[in-house]
């Protein structure tokens, strides 16, 4: 069949219709994209054009318990460059360097960086308003002025380790600043603009400013005044005893609020970079673990009273040692305390008495109380870097371990754990969770956004037991080893502790941690205060003993703080013994024949509180002056003459 022109024409029509149909289809497709999908495609396109320069919000202020500023952010203009937009880099570098007084080469290097934004560090951070105006007047492309804040500390280094520090990006690094970083930080804002694909500013497009949201404020439980008392006492202790470390805590036992927390060594938060990292990275009060020594006896006592294994009036005979599994564990007092009541055992901090209580309780019960008091686990304080402490594993506790644990050896605890355990005794038997923040406040209005409620952890002992323990501890201060914590009118109750430190697997005879854990007023404690001094070195070679060094410090902290809090004095307390003649003479123990270690320990730990001065060399005391039995004033000096062999007849 020959193809006719008619066929051809028919096919032209079909082709035309097909092609027009295809064109129509494309118009439909175009309508779908440009109208149906326009909004999300446009949104995605816009976000691909958009570049953001961050603008920091002001970091929240941290107040103390009474609303005093502890740290706030002072905001200042900061120079930011968008390198892709800086047209004349050498010229801009020259101009900026002149205003900021930076080397031109350094500025140029920053402007040549291949990143969206660069800070002109260091001189371009926090410039003066005058410099900012000069830079704005330069009107250089790609140079922006943003706001950046720096932390200011109106009270200097007060509570530095609680507050913590912030880094260059305004982020919390330690302490409350880290723990509550999200709340303090707020929301970043932006200067937004459209950029070409190569980062240059897109011409004829405006910029959009998304203002930042300021961070929220925090109100701490820390009271700047009490904190100042505590830091003053820490400084005094450092000046007097030149110790390695000091830790002090004051707590409100009813709420678990921490009113003061201080450590030595500390640092100045404005210049934290100048200090060793351990000073700003570690908060000894919650991190350091050590053998508590006698302060731990409070736990044994509480357990024994709660389990009705003892009455304070029961009698006990201390021959100077206690035989455990065939070994004689010595009392710190050579010759022992003889016949005494269990109240005397507490007052005298008599080790054999507490070993007896430990045996009566048995290891399961004693350890269950230790755990109930919060030892061996974190207290959950709202600060980063808390320690756990170490307890014996129950299946590895033999009679000897039970005995030492009962008087505070062989366990390892943190200061905050001890404070919270003491707090439970103070508030009637409830273990509280400690915290340093009591409220989150709105930065602009100061309104409370969120209140931190006191958090009960568990009941440890009942109120009656707690009262008995408090009474016994008041007696410790009034009549026993904690005498120097006594504050007239404020019924201070407390317990001393003197723990030797293990160095290279052995107790170091010259390295002690002395501590005191106190509360007042004993009938209704408002405060618990604690201090631990690691390796005190008295200048006159005086005794290293918790009752001598630590107790008076806690006494002063409690006295000043209670007075500041307006707590009325009372005359219902146990009068200080002996009354009214104070100081009284004490009897010098007979130290001749002892090894030097025993003699020194006895001299230090006896209620005589004597300073031993060693003459000559050797292992044994061969003579002493004044001789045993002499009456002297407390803190008198006793000279010990040494020889290689013990004296033959005594």
């Amino acid at each position: 069949m020959r193809v006719t022109r008619r066929t051809m024409r028919r096919r032209f029509v079909i082709l035309l219709l097909c092609l027009l149909l295809a064109v129509g289809g494309l118009i439909g497709r175009l309508a779908y994209i440009q109208m149906g999908q326009s909004s999300w495609l446009k949104a995605r396109a816009e976000s691909s054009w958009e570049r953001n320069i961050p603008v920091e919000g002001t970091r929240g202020t941290i107040y103390d318990d009474k609303g005093r500023e502890l740290v706030y952010t002072a905001s200042a203009p900061t120079v930011i460059a968008v390198p892709a937009q800086v047209k004349d880099k050498p010229g801009t570098a020259q101009a900026l360097a002149g205003i900021l007084q930076m080397p031109v080469a350094d500025v140029l290097k920053l402007l040549q960086k291949k990143s969206l934004t660069v800070y002109i560090s260091p001189k371009g951070r926090r410039v003066t308003e005058q410099q900012a105006t000069q830079i704005r007047n330069l009107d250089r492309s790609g140079i922006y002025i943003s706001e950046a804040g720096k932390r200011a500390y109106p009270l200097g280094s007060l509570a530095a380790q609680v507050l913590g520090i912030t880094g260059a990006q305004n982020q919390g690094l330690t302490g409350v600043e880290k723990q509550y970083d999200d709340i303090l930080q707020g929301q970043r804002g932006y200067i937004s603009f459209y950029a070409k694909a190569n980062g240059e500013r897109m011409p004829a497009t405006g910029e959009h400013y998304q203002p930042p949201t300021d961070g929220q404020d925090l109100q701490l439980t820390i009271d700047a005044q009490i904190q100042q008392f505590v830091e003053r006492e820490v400084e005094r202790a450092v000046a007097e005893y030149n110790p390695d470390r000091v830790t002090a805590i004051v707590e409100d036992p009813k709420t678990g609020n921490i009113l003061a927390m201080a450590n030595y060594p500390s640092f100045d938060p404005t210049h934290w970079q100048d200090y060793p990292s351990t000073t700003y990275n570690q908060n000894l009060a919650i991190w350091q673990t050590f053998e508590p020594g006698s302060t731990f006896k409070v736990v044994t006592l509480s357990a024994a009273l709660q389990e009705k294994k003892v009455s304070l009036a029961d009698r006990f005979y201390d021959p100077g040692y206690y035989e455990v599994a065939g070994r004689k564990v010595k009392c710190w007092k050579a010759g022992g305390h003889g016949s005494e009541s269990f109240l005397n055992v507490v007052e005298n901090s008599c080790n054999p008495g507490f070993i007896a209580l430990g045996e009566r309780l048995g290891k399961e019960t004693l350890f269950s109380y230790i755990k109930k008091f919060g030892f061996g686990s974190k207290t959950g304080i709202d600060l980063p870097g808390e320690g756990n402490g170490i307890l014996f594993k129950l299946n590895r506790v033999g009679p000897l371990e039970l005995a030492t644990t009962a008087f505070g050896q062989g366990v390892s605890v943190t200061p905050i754990q001890q404070v919270m355990a003491m707090g439970a005794i103070a508030n009637g038997g409830m273990l509280m969770q400690p915290h340093v923040v009591q409220a989150i406040l709105d930065h602009d209005t100061g309104q409370v956004v969120q209140q931190v409620k006191p958090q009960e952890v568990r009941r440890v002992i009942d109120a009656d037991t707690a009262k008995q323990v408090r009474d016994a501890l008041e007696s410790v201060v009034a009549r026993g080893s904690g005498g120097s914590a006594y504050q007239p009118g404020y019924r201070v109750a407390g317990k001393t502790g003197t723990a030797q430190v293990v160095v290279n697997g052995r107790y170091d005879p010259s390295h002690y941690i002395v501590s005191f854990m106190g509360m007042a007023p004993a009938d209704n404690p408002r405060l618990v205060a604690y201090i631990a001094i690691d390796h005190p070195r008295p200048r006159n070679g005086a005794a290293v003993f918790g009752g001598v060094i630590a107790a008076p410090i806690v006494g002063r902290i409690l006295g000043d703080s209670l007075q500041y809090l307006g707590v009325p004095t009372s005359n219902q307390g146990i009068p200080k013994k002996p009354k009214p003649l104070d100081p009284v003479k004490v009897e010098v123990p007979n130290l001749v024949g002892m090894t030097i270690g025993d003699a020194r320990r006895t001299a230090i730990q006896s209620s005589a509180q004597l300073n031993a001065e060693v003459m000559g060399t050797g292992k044994y005391v061969i003579w002493q002056s004044p001789p045993g039995g002499t009456l002297v004033e407390p803190n008198s000096k006793v000279r010990l003459y040494l020889g290689d062999n013990p004296p033959k007849a005594n």
Binding site: M1, R2, V3, T4, R5, T7, M8, R9, R11, F12, V13, L15, L16, L19, L20, A22, V23, G24, G25, L26, I27, R29, L30, A31, I33, Q34, M35, Q37, S38, S39, W40, L41, K42, R44, A45, E46, S48, W49, Y194, A195, K196, A197, N198, M202, A204, T205
Partner: protein, 364 residues
């Protein structure tokens, strides 16, 4: 046969000139950023395009007044010459964007494949006009013109330039169909075309990735899908009425090749759906007038030549806009009269000139 020296189809003239003007404005707008970036002269591309447009209009005017019958005698020589150029470009051509498609003359480059496209249309019209008796025969009627086209496609695929190859095959099919080829023959061609396509994909796996990119460009937004996504961003942000002439944002180095293969995206961004649809309607009118010319041409050669030129323009528009709107797999081809490109523009206008001469000799 009486050759009435009537009037040219003024609709074709008007539509061509309008498209050409839109093209010149859009080339300037789309290329200004890239020109300033590359040549520190925002008018670099626009000035060249204006020059090519001038040359093209002269060629169009000449061809409109040159009796198309006299072209017939040149057809075999022209097609042989174009093949020689296609070989030459493989030997001494310049590579741009991965294909060796340009013969450099000074700072200008000419694209032999554009020339070959028009030469093939001329040759196929010449051959098929006398083949009315032979079209029934597969071997004597159908195969010879197909063989010539496939030879051209083979040479162009060596550059390689998939877009031109597809346009040539599309135009060839349009002309074979118009010339009365049997549908069974075209079906066979379609089937073997699919096989050939499969073979091409097997030879160069990047082609399959282009197809995947078309189906889901967001699978690889920074790689294969990048160009399509940027094109859709441009069209999407244009919306109904567009951002306004000169206000494209995608041209700020986001969309590659904004002045050539993807100029329609920028057009859609600046002039919106209304602008984009208007351009398509104008092409529709051009196709209608082109086939009208074919229908009333004084002889078969004129009919097939008019249908071939119109078909070539239509196929190229469909592929270009299809790619830009992510309707078909990505294939690089210019949008007639609009995209930047000297060879493309001058040869398209030359083709329109031939079309106009045919319309002058129309039987009506």
């Amino acid at each position: 046969m009486v050759r009435s020296k009537g009037n040219v189809d003024y609709v074709i003239v008007a539509v061509t000139l309008v498209l050409l003007c839109i093209g010149l404005v859009m080339v300037h707008s789309a290329s200004s950023v890239i020109s300033a970036q590359k040549f520190t002269d925002a008018f670099y591309y626009a000035k060249r395009q204006l020059m090519w447009a001038g040359l093209g209009l002269v060629l169009m005017f000449i061809m409109a007044n040159f009796d198309y019958h006299r072209l017939r005698a040149w057809a075999p020589k022209v097609v042989i010459a174009s093949f020689l150029f296609l070989v030459l470009v493989l030997l001494v051509g310049e590579s741009r964007g991965g294909s060796k498609a340009w013969l450099g003359i000074g700072s200008f480059g000419i694209q032999p494949s554009e020339f070959a496209k028009l030469a093939l249309v001329l040759f196929l019209a010449h051959y098929l006009a006398d083949a009315a008796d032979r079209m029934e025969s597969f071997v004597r009627g159908f195969l010879p013109p197909l063989f010539i086209s496939l030879l051209a496609v083979g040479l162009i695929m060596l550059e390689p330039d998939l877009g031109q190859s597809v346009v040539i095959m599309g135009t060839t099919i349009v002309m074979l169909y118009a010339a009365g080829a049997r549908l069974s023959q075209l079906g066979l061609l379609g089937g073997s075309g699919l096989l050939a396509f499969a073979a091409l994909v097997a030879m160069a796996p990047y082609r399959i990735k282009r197809i995947v990119a078309f189906l889901d460009p967001w699978q690889d937004p920074l790689g294969k899908g990048y160009q399509i996504i940027q094109s859709l961003y441009a069209l999407g942000s244009g919306g109904l009425v567009g951002l306004g002439l000169g206000n494209s944002r995608q041209k700020y180095l986001y969309l590659p090749e904004p002045q050539t293969d993807f100029i329609y995206s920028i057009l859609g961004e600046e002039l919106g759906f209304l602008g984009g649809a208007t351009v398509l309607v104008l092409f529709g009118v051009l196709v209608w007038r082109g086939f009208r010319t074919a229908m009333f041409a004084p002889d078969e050669f004129g009919s097939l030549l008019a249908a071939g030129i119109t078909g070539m323009i239509a196929v190229q528009v469909l592929i270009n806009v299809g790619v830009v709107t992510s309707s078909i797999p990505a294939t690089g081809i210019t949008l007639p009269f609009i995209s930047f490109g000297g060879s493309s523009l001058t040869l398209m206008l030359t083709g329109v000139g031939i079309l106009l001469n045919i319309s002058r000799q129309s039987l009506r």
